[in-house]
C-alpha cells in the first residue's frame, strides 16, 4: 500500500483535521470492515459540558430532577479534586448518532474517539438485536423532548414538589419497568403527544376495575373471584400505570415516561461488555489501519497505544484499584480472540469453539455483535485462551460455609465452569432481585402484594427495600406487602401502610402465599 501524507502534525486538533479523520476512518470502516452506522453528529464540548452530559445520563435534554443535580455535584467534586478523569467521549444511541468529544483531547485522542464512538458504538447501536428491538434511535431525542416539556408543564400545573415526589417514587421502581419477555412498541415523541391526551381520558375510566364495588346481583352459589392479576406481573411500573387506583391521569403519564426511558436503557444494561469491547476492538484496528496507510505518524500511534493500554487495563482482584471486571478489557480480549480463532485456530480452539474456528473472521464478529448480549456472548465466545490470559477463577461465597471456596480456575477442568459462571454474572436477572406483582386484594383492603423469589438464598437489602416500599405505597396509596420467598416459604415479609413500614419473619402472613 502506498504511504500517504499524515493528516495532522502535532497534538493540537483542528476542525479540518477532525473532518479528514472522520472521512478516512469512515472510509476504512465501511469499505474494509463493513461497519454499518447511523449518520454521525460530532459535537465538541468542554469539560463542564461533559459533566452536564454525565448527569443527564448522556441525553442531550432531560427533565429536571434533583437527583441529576446530585450526580452533577458529585462528578464535579470528584473531577475538581482529581479523583476521576472524565471520559474522552460520550455517545448517544440516536439517529443521527450524537457523539460528544472533549475539547481537551489531543489530536490522536480525537481520532481514537471518532473510531471508538462514531464507528464502534454507532454500528453496535445499529446492528445489535437488543437495540434494534427495544429502542428506536430516530425517535429518542424527540421523545425525551416530549417528556421534558410534559413534566415541566406538570410542574406548572401541580407544583414542583408534587412532581418531584412522584419522580422519586418512579425512579425507585425504574428497574422494574421492563417486560423482559415482550418486545415493546417503538416510541415517538410526536405520536406520544398526540395519543397522550386521549389516553388520559380513557385510562381513568379503565382503571376503575378496582373501584367497581357496587355489588352485582348475588349469584346463588358463591363463585370464587378470579385472582387479580391472573398471572404474576414483572413489569411493576406498567402495572401501576394501568391499575393504581388513585393516581391522577397526569401521574400515570409520568409513570409511563419513566417506564419508557427505563426501556430505552434496558439494552445498554445488558451489553456493556459487548458494546465497549466492540468499540475498543474497532478503534484498535482502525487506528492501526490509519498508521499503515501513513495517515498518522509514529508519534500518534505511540500516544494511541498508551491510551489504549490504559483503557484496557485490568487490575487484579487483590489490587487496591480493583473494582470489578473492566468491560473494555474483557470485551476487547474476546473480540480479538474471535479473530484469532478464525484466523489461526489451535487444537484447543477446535474443541472449544468448533462452530467458528477457521471461519471468516469478519463475518463471525459481525454475527456475534448482531445476535448476542453479554450473557450469551460470554457463554458462546469466551475461549480458554482469554480465561488464561486474564487468569479468571470463580469462587463460591456461601454464608452457610465458614470459608470462601475456589470452585474453578483457568485449567482444563475449570474453563467451562468459569465460562458459565461469568456468563451468569452478566445475566440481569441475577444482578437484580426477581420481584413480581403477585396479587391485589380486590375484594378486601385493595392492598398489593409483591413476591420476591430468592435465588440461592440471597435476601433483599433490607434498608433499601423498606424505602422502596414507601415509594410504592406512595403510588399505590393502599397497603403494600412484599414477601421474600426462600425455597417456597416466606422468609421475610415487608409491610407498609399509611404511617409505617415494618418487617416480620412472614410466618403470620400466609394469606397470599397459601394459594
Amino acid at each position: 500500500m502506498s504511504k500517504r501524507e499524515p493528516i495532522a502534525e502535532g497534538s493540537e486538533w483542528t476542525f479540518e483535521a477532525l473532518e479528514t479523520f472522520d472521512r478516512e476512518i469512515g472510509r476504512i470502516a465501511a469499505d474494509k470492515y463493513r461497519l454499518d452506522t447511523y449518520h454521525n453528529q460530532i459535537e465538541i464540548i468542554s469539560a463542564d459540558q461533559m459533566m452536564d452530559a454525565y448527569s443527564s445520563v448522556g441525553m442531550p435534554v432531560g427533565y429536571h430532577h434533583w437527583s441529576f443535580g446530585k450526580q452533577f455535584l458529585s462528578t464535579e467534586q470528584r473531577y475538581r479534586k482529581g479523583h476521576i478523569g472524565l471520559a474522552y467521549e460520550l455517545v448517544i444511541n440516536s439517529d443521527p448518532c450524537i457523539a460528544y468529544l472533549m475539547e481537551e483531547n489531543s489530536m490522536t485522542l480525537q481520532a481514537l474517539v471518532i473510531a471508538h464512538a462514531c464507528y464502534g458504538h454507532n454500528s453496535f447501536f445499529k446492528g445489535n438485536y437488543l437495540f434494534r428491538e427495544w429502542t428506536d434511535a430516530s425517535a429518542i431525542v424527540n421523545y425525551v423532548l416530549f417528556a421534558r416539556d410534559y413534566i415541566s408543564e406538570c410542574e406548572e400545573r401541580h407544583g414542583v414538589e408534587a412532581v418531584e415526589t412522584l419522580l422519586d417514587s418512579c425512579h425507585a421502581l425504574m428497574n422494574l419497568g421492563v417486560d423482559r419477555f415482550r418486545r415493546p412498541r417503538p416510541i415517538s415523541g410526536e405520536e406520544e403527544k398526540r395519543r397522550q391526551k386521549e389516553r388520559e381520558d380513557y385510562l381513568q375510566q379503565q382503571v376503575n376495575d378496582l373501584w367497581r364495588t357496587i355489588p352485582k346481583k348475588k349469584k346463588k352459589n358463591k363463585k370464587k373471584w378470579p385472582r387479580f392479576p391472573e398471572d404474576p406481573q414483572e413489569n411493576l411500573l406498567y402495572f401501576i400505570e394501568k391499575n393504581a387506583p388513585l393516581l391522577e391521569p397526569w401521574e400515570r403519564e409520568i409513570v409511563r415516561i419513566v417506564r419508557k426511558i427505563a426501556v430505552y436503557y434496558y439494552p445498554q444494561r445488558q451489553t456493556k461488555i459487548m458494546n465497549e469491547g466492540w468499540a475498543t476492538f474497532w478503534h484498535y484496528n482502525l487506528m492501526n489501519d490509519l498508521y499503515d496507510e501513513g495517515l498518522i505518524t509514529e508519534g500518534n500511534i505511540l500516544e494511541f497505544l498508551q491510551s489504549h493500554t490504559n483503557v484496557v487495563y485490568q487490575p487484579e482482584f487483590d489490587s487496591p484499584y480493583y473494582s470489578g471486571i473492566n468491560p473494555y478489557t474483557l470485551g476487547f480480549a474476546m473480540f480479538t480472540d474471535i479473530r484469532r480463532v478464525c484466523e489461526n485456530p489451535t487444537d484447543e480452539d477446535r474443541r472449544f469453539a468448533a462452530e467458528y474456528a477457521g471461519a471468516d473472521w469478519l463475518e463471525t464478529v459481525h454475527h456475534a455483535m448482531a445476535n448476542y448480549k453479554d450473557e450469551s456472548f460470554i457463554l458462546q465466545y469466551l475461549t480458554p485462551k482469554v480465561i488464561r490470559d486474564l487468569k479468571l477463577f470463580s469462587i463460591l461465597d456461601d454464608d452457610a460455609d465458614r470459608a470462601i471456596q475456589v470452585t474453578a480456575i483457568h485449567d482444563d477442568d475449570g474453563y467451562r465452569r468459569v465460562r458459565e459462571e461469568l456468563a451468569d454474572q452478566y445475566n440481569l436477572s441475577n444482578q437484580e432481585p426477581d420481584i413480581q406483582v403477585w396479587e391485589v386484594a380486590l375484594r378486601g383492603d385493595r392492598s398489593i402484594t409483591l413476591k420476591h423469589l430468592q435465588r440461592d438464598r440471597v435476601p433483599l437489602d433490607e434498608d433499601d427495600a423498606k424505602e422502596v416500599l414507601k415509594h410504592l405505597h406512595r403510588l399505590w396509596r393502599f397497603d403494600v406487602h412484599l414477601e421474600s420467598v426462600r425455597e417456597d416459604k416466606v422468609h421475610r415479609a415487608y409491610h407498609c401502610n399509611d404511617d409505617k413500614v415494618w418487617t416480620d419473619s412472614g410466618e403470620t402472613s400466609t394469606s397470599a402465599s397459601a394459594s
Binding site: 472522520d22 434533583w66 458529585s74 462514531c118 425504574m174 487484579e316 479468571l392 470459608a403 440461592d456
Partner: protein, 420 residues
Amino acid sequence: MAFLIIDRRQQGKQKSAVNRQRFLKRFRKHIKEAVTDAVNKRSITDMERGEEISIPKGDISEPIFRQGQGGKQRRVLPGNKEFIRGDRIDRPKGGSGGGGGNASNQGEGMDEFVFELNQQEFLDFMFEDLELPNLVRKQLKDSDSYKLVKGGYLRDGIPARLNVVQSLRGAKARRIALGGAIRREIKALEQELEALGGDEESEKVREITEKLERARRRANQIPFLDDFDLRYNNMIQQPIPTTSAVMFCLMDVSGSMTQDIKDLAKRFFVLLHLFLKRHYEKTEVVFIRHHTKADEVDEEEFFYSRETGGTVVSSALELMNTIVRERYPTDSWNIYAAQASDGENWQDDSPKCRDWLVKSLLPLVQYFAYVEISSGKEQELWETYSEIPELFPDRFAMRNVKEPADIFPVFRDLFERKST
C-alpha cells in the same frame, strides 16, 4: 458518509443549573446547618468564600430493590495467582467480602456525600430570609438608576432596534395602497385581452399587450421595502425608585472589652456589613467606635484599629444623633443602628444612654439592635436598656451573645424576615 461537526463549546455550560438548584433546595436543611457551622468556624476576614458541604449518605440515597448480603454468591474474578480448585479462603474481615461485587456500585463507600457550595450559593444560604425590618420607600433620592421600557415605535433609530414585523407590515400596506390603481388597470387589460382571443396579429391586441407590459413594469417599480417603512422600537428610560438606608455600626472598644470580646463584636459587624453589601447595594454604612469619646471612622479603621480607653457609651449615641441630624434627614432615609458592647459603662452614663435612645434616637430610626457580649450575667447597660423594648416593641431589639457560636444565630434572629 455524511457527517456533521458542531462546536458546542460556546453554548451555556450550565445545563445542570436547574437540577443543581433543585438539589440545593431539597437539602436546604442540611446545607443551612453546614453553612452556620462554617460561619462560626471561619475567621472574620474569611466570610466570602464557598464551602465544602457534606450530607450523610443515608439522607440522600436513592433506594432501589437490590440484593443484600448472604446466601450463596458466586463470582468470577481476574488475576488468580496461587489458587487451585477446592482451595478455601478465609472471609476477609469487616464483612465487605460478602457482597462486595454487587453491593457497592456507588464506589468508594463514603459515608458522606460531599460537594462544593460556591460563593454565591454560600452567601445566599447565609443571608436567606433576612431583611432590614421596617424598610419604607422614602423620597426618590438617587435618580441614577433607570430601567428601559418599551414605548411604541419610531421612524428612525439604530439598526439593532429595527422592528422587523412592524416594518414589513408597513411595507405591505404601502404596496397595497400604491399598487391598487395599477392592479385594477392590469386586470382590466387582461380581461380585454382575453375577450379578444389569441389573435396576435391584430393591432388592438398588440396595443393592449404593450399597455399591459408598461403597467406591469410600473407595478414592479413599487419597491418592496422603502426607507419610509422602517420602524424602530422606542425604548424610554424610567427611573427606578430607590430606597435609601443608612446603617450605623456602634462598637465599644474600651479597655474592658478583651480581645476575645472585640473579636466577637467585629464578627457581628462583619456579618452585618456583608449582608448589607449583598442585599442593599445603596445602603450607606456609618462606622462609629467609642471608648470615652466617640469617633466616626472608616471601614478599615473600624475593623482593624487598636485604640482603647475608658467607657462612656452615651458619647457614641450622641455622635450618632448629631450625624443623623446633619446628614440623614428622616424624610428621605431609613435609619438603622446596631450597637455592640460588653455592657460595662461609666456609672452615671447608662441612664443617659437610655434617654438618648428613648427621647432622640428611637423616634428617628426604623430599627435599633443592641448586642451585648458578656460571658456572665447581664451587665449594667443591659439592665438599663431592658425597659426600652416595651416602649418600642418593633423598633428595638436586644440580644445577648456568650460565645462565637452564638453570633450567627443572634444575627439571624435580629434580622429574620418577620412574616406579616
